[in-house]
Symmetry: C2
Subunit: 93 residues, 2 copies
């Protein structure tokens, strides 16, 4: 399994909403409004990167998909409330 | 040195702007509108976390400070244009 952090900056509301839904579908959990974390297997890691490429506008948006070890994840510092608000309500996808 | 990724979700424009300026002052580089990366020494890592706590509203905002190894950083997948727009122009800090 691959532990992932996905952080995105997508300006279009609809695309951002679709990306968030897709990341949930891959089993990731929202840790901030525009950041998800979780584990996927190697094949689904590739599928996830491909899905991100398809969903966002690569001229204006950016998505970082970062693999990180369990130790690095566990020692993260969280200031404030992890989870973040949903920003993808109210959009038809 | 500690390699860091700092990702934040701060609703207040002024606070978000101040946080971005503070992260730059610590020598980090913007990789997205609300994400910075870079290296700091151990003492400044603590100072940086403390600065984040001071600058944000812990009831509504969230900041993740994640340590990660060089290998994990170098193998990151970037979809789109790394760097991100400045969203902290026009605010007096």
């Amino acid at each position: 399994m691959v532990r992932l952090l996905v952080v995105y900056d997508v300006s279009d509301n609809g695309k951002r909403s679709r990306l968030a839904k897709e990341l949930k579908r891959f089993g990731l959990s929202r840790i901030q409004r525009s950041a998800f974390a979780g584990e996927v297997d190697q094949q689904r890691f590739k599928d996830l990167c491909r899905a991100c490429s398809t969903l966002v506008d690569e001229d204006t948006d950016v998505v970082h998909v970062i693999q990180l070890g369990l130790r690095d994840w566990e020692r993260r510092v969280v200031i404030g409330v992890e989870g973040g608000g949903e920003d993808d309500r109210g959009f038809v996808v």
